[in-house]
Symmetry: C2
Amino acid sequence: MNAAGDRGPQAGPDEAVVDLLGVMACGELLAFERLAHDAALAPTIEDKAELARMAVAEFTHFTTLREHLVKIGADPAAAMAPFVEPLGDFHRRTAASNWLEGLVKAFVGDGLAADFYREISGYLDPATAGLVQEVLADSGHSAFAVEHVRAAIDADPRVAGPLALWGRRLMGEALTQAQRVAGEREALAALIVGGSGPDRPGIDLNEIGAMLGRLTAAHSERMAALGLEA
Amino acid sequence: MNAAGDRGPQAGPDEAVVDLLGVMACGELLAFERLAHDAALAPTIEDKAELARMAVAEFTHFTTLREHLVKIGADPAAAMAPFVEPLGDFHRRTAASNWLEGLVKAFVGDGLAADFYREISGYLDPATAGLVQEVLADSGHSAFAVEHVRAAIDADPRVAGPLALWGRRLMGEALTQAQRVAGEREALAALIVGGSGPDRPGIDLNEIGAMLGRLTAAHSERMAALGLEA
C-alpha cells in the first residue's frame, strides 16, 4: 500500500480507495464464511441450500472486489489485512445460535453494510463508485429472510422479543467495530466524511452524526420489515 | 419419489437415478458447508479465499444436480433426504481440527467421491452419465491441497504421521457411511453393482470387491501425492 508521501506521477492507488475496497472485500469473504456456517442451522436441506446460495453471492462480490484491487495495482491480502481482526471480532461476538438469528443477521448485516457503502460511494471516483454499486445490488437475501422470520413470529410470537434484542445487539457491535476501524484507518475515516486531502474538507462531526442517523433509521425500517421492534 | 410399483407408461424418474443424484447433490451441499467451515482454519486471508473458492465450486455442482433432479420430475429435497444423516455423520465424525486436516480432507474426500461416481457412471443412461462427468470435472482442489500439504511436511516432517492416520480415518469413515447407505437404499446399491431390474444381473459380490480394490488403490495414490503413507 502507498503512504501519502509516495504520491506523485508514479503514484500507486489511492490509499483511501484501497482501504475501502479492502474492508469491503474482507467483509464479503467473512460474510461468506458466516453465512455458510449458519447454513448448518437450517431446519431443512432446501433452507440450507438457500443460505448457501446467499453465501455464494457474497463470495462472487468478494471476487469482483479482489479483481479490482489487483487492477488498480494493490495487493488484495495487504488491503484486507487491517480489517480481518475488527470484522472477525464482529462475527465472533454476534455468532448466531439458531436459524432465525442467522437469518436476521444476514438481512440486517447485509442491509447495514450496503447502506454504509452507498453513503460513501458519493465520495468516490466513478470507476470505484460503479464497482461499489454493482457489489451492493440486492443478492436476493431480503425476501427470503423477511418471509421466514415473519412466518416464525406468526407461528410463535414469543420469538419476537429475543430477536428484537438480537437486532439491537448486531447494530451495537457493528458500530463498535466501525469506530475501531475509523480510529485505526485515518485515510478511510477521512474519506467517509468527505475529506481525502488538503484540498478537501476534513472530518465534519455534523456529517458523521447525520450519516449515523440515516443508518439507524434504515436499520429500524429493516427490523420493522421483519416484524421486530428496533 | 416413485416406488418400483409405480413404473409404467406414466412412470416417474428412475428410483436409482434419483437416489444417485440425490446423494451426489446432498454430498456437494454438505461439502460446500464443510469447506466453507474449514476456511476459518486458514492461516492467511488468501488461503481462506482459496478454500472458499473450492466451496463455491461444490455449490455450483449442487445447483447443477438439483436442476437436473427438477428436470426429470423429482423433488430435490425428497431425493436428498435419505442421505442427510449418513453424509452429515461422515462430516461430523471427520471434522478437521486444523488447516492441514481440512486440506487433506478436501483432497482425499473429493477424490474418493469422484472415483466412486466415475465407477458407477458406466451403469447410467447417457444424459445422467454426462451430468455426472460434468460434476466430476476437477475443480482445481488438487494442486492447491497437494502443494500446501507437501510444503507443510517439508517444513516440519513430524506433521506427516498424524496426517497419514487422518487419511486412513477419512477412508474408514467413508466406507462405514457408504455401507450404511447401501444397506438402506436397495435401488442405489443395486445400481452400483450393475443391477437395476429383473433384466439386469443382481448384486455381484466379486464386482463389489473389485470396485473397493480400485477405490482403495486410488486413495493410496492420492495419499502418496500428498507425501503421506496410506
